[in-house]
Subunit: 373 residues, 2 copies
């Protein structure tokens, strides 16, 4: 049985192809009488007609496809983001294309260009580098772009971010409230907006607590596991050590925990160090030193990003004038709050007094943001 076309449907229904087309248009524009509508649908059904999206795209210059480009795919935050996006897109009849920029600005540029050629209707980008000329160029070419997670210098595109400053602030304040006074900050590539904002929140909390930051305890560097490992290593070598540490992100946090694991475990019992970091996952309850996490709403960010994007796409279609391009580039920034979650930390090594914190599904699933275990 050959693949049916709109003509076959038209013939079988005794109407014109135009009518069929109008009936099947995804953006319910041209109106069709209720009777013919039903007729067409029934014929479509019985013939097993499926619209040919390539042909439609050729005509409409729209693919109902949007792309997400991230520095790497194998990453918790990113996958939650994708999950959020997919859900939202699905509801609007869009499909999600996915690509990795392999943590390289160059690669990102290439992938973006390939995707633009595929005529995606829009793109969500987690920027890989600090430079963003190509992003601006893309937007100039008329492809709606929304940034997620990070801002890029000199590019005023729409962006969906966590409230990093507030997150780091709350995290640090929670440590202060627990009585910790000697607090370090580990990791952070200062060219990345996320790191700058978090460091700034950390500083504000200390200041508000009347504590002078100790320069030795601010171990900037990078955003990877190794950076956390090295930062912790450096800190352990000091005679005077902090009692608590704020990790700039999950990877750094992991590196720090790794380094701590190598230390004789007795160390914790005698001289406990606790960590507060970003991102809550199913695994964070198992990180021995983890006391607080600031859970980002990655799924929500994905939804928001898609909503912004679809908005832009609609705008662009309606405004065909020359001011359209201008309209398409404005940079609206959306900040989503993070949620502070308390963890067991070293206490589980001493008693089970806090064991409620792990009772099944508590920490991870009650965050309300992940579907949970």
């Amino acid at each position: 049985m050959k693949r049916q076309t709109i003509r076959d449907v038209a013939a079988a229904a005794g109407v014109s192809t135009a009518t069929v087309s109008r009936t099947l248009a995804p953006d319910k524009t041209g109106r069709v009488s209720e009777d013919t509508r039903r007729l067409v649908f029934s014929v479509v059904e019985s013939l097993g007609y499926r619209t040919n999206h390539a042909a439609r795209s050729l005509k409409t210059r729209s693919t109902r496809t949007i792309a997400i480009v991230a520095p790497e795919l194998a990453n918790d935050f990113f996958m939650d983001l994708a999950e959020g996006m997919e859900g939202e897109l699905d509801a609007h009849g869009y499909t999600l294309l996915i690509a990795s920029s392999a943590n390289s600005g160059e690669e990102e540029k290439k992938r973006l260009s390939v995707l633009a050629d595929r005529m995606v209707d829009g793109m969500v980008v987690i920027p890989a580098g600090a430079r963003g000329a190509h992003l601006k160029a893309l937007a100039g070419r008329g492809v709606p772009v929304v940034l997620v997670d990070r801002l890029v210098e000199g590019v005023d595109l729409d962006a969906v971010l966590s409230d990093n400053e507030a997150g780091a602030f709350e995290l640090t304040r929670a440590l202060l409230a627990d009585g910790y006074r000697r607090i370090a900050f580990v990791g952070g590539d200062i060219t990345i907006s996320t790191a700058r904002e978090r460091l700034s929140g950390f500083g504000r909390a200390l200041a508000e607590g009347g504590i002078r930051p100790e320069p030795d305890w601010i171990r900037l560097g990078g955003m990877g596991v190794e950076d956390g490992y090295r930062g912790m290593d450096a800190i352990l070598k000091f005679r005077r050590r902090p009692e608590a540490l704020v990790a700039v992100n999950l990877l750094v946090h992991l590196g720090m925990e790794r380094r701590l694991l190598e230390q004789n475990q007795r160390f914790w019992e005698k001289e406990a160090m606790v960590i507060a970091g970003f991102d809550e996952t199913v695994y964070t309850p198992f990180l021995p030193a983890c006391r607080y996490t600031a859970a980002q709403d990655a799924v929500g960010m994905g939804k928001q990003a898609v909503q912004r994007l679809l908005e832009r796409i609609a705008l662009k279609k309606n405004a065909a004038g020359p001011e359209a391009a201008e309209e398409t580039i404005g940079g609206q920034i959306i900040r989503l709050p993070v949620k502070i979650i308390r963890h067991h930390s070293e206490s589980f090594l001493k008693s089970r007094s806090l064991s409620r914190n792990f009772s099944f599904g508590k920490a991870a699933s009650d965050s309300g943001w992940k579907s949970g275990p």
Copy 2:
């Protein structure tokens, strides 16, 4: 500046559109002289021409796009798989579409159909359910499909799987070699091929070690965190308990560890229980009871799946005859070995004698399969 077409290029280069088309064809079929090739490319460059994929697809009935459908996106195994696929696809000029079946066979059916309508050239599916009539139907419709991770009853499609039986066998044997004799198996939905295979490997190792399996210690049930939690809970209630446990997968393993965390930690020291499970991630070194993991090569599976798929696609194009469909459905099964990784287990709570096992990057990054921290 309007978007250039192949005609503009042809005109500017003083050749026909057919020549330009042949020069730009992705599958280097029609040959073109080296001179004209260079000429065309230079004009393409200077005009900033970009091929219109919608038009090409309309003609060729191929989108150079393949899709991956998984039960959920936020999942370590899946992310690595996608990463492997993306890398391999990129090298062949393909793009990756991604969709979640939300752990539902019904939903899977819908997504598959939508994607087929988008004319993807092929699909990689991690089946959500035990039934697969729609998968067979898809393949019948001429869409190449490769299964990953699980087999589906009565559907003989190509599949890329881990060697689950051998993995569970090795895992169990490692425990036996360490001197453990009382070994349990937790989790496993017997309708899922993966679970059956792993349970079978477990049984074989026990048999080979001359050990009679204890029925109480085989806690089948499901494949989620809760199932692991409940399985462990049941086991802790027995007067006679196992010394070691094999977890059917990572989620179950996590649930088990969770349950153990709730137990007073002294429990481990006096009466240690160790766990062997599937999947190695950056986090497994932090699971207190984890002694061995069988690391699946998810990235490699992604690559293999894509290779199979591209092979099928090529086959289909060349064989236009009626036997083509037949050819397209055969079910070749590829098994990738897993790698057993030893972890610290409870020892880190007692001494640092095994601390080398965590030395930075050892367990996770020396697996050679992940890019590592």
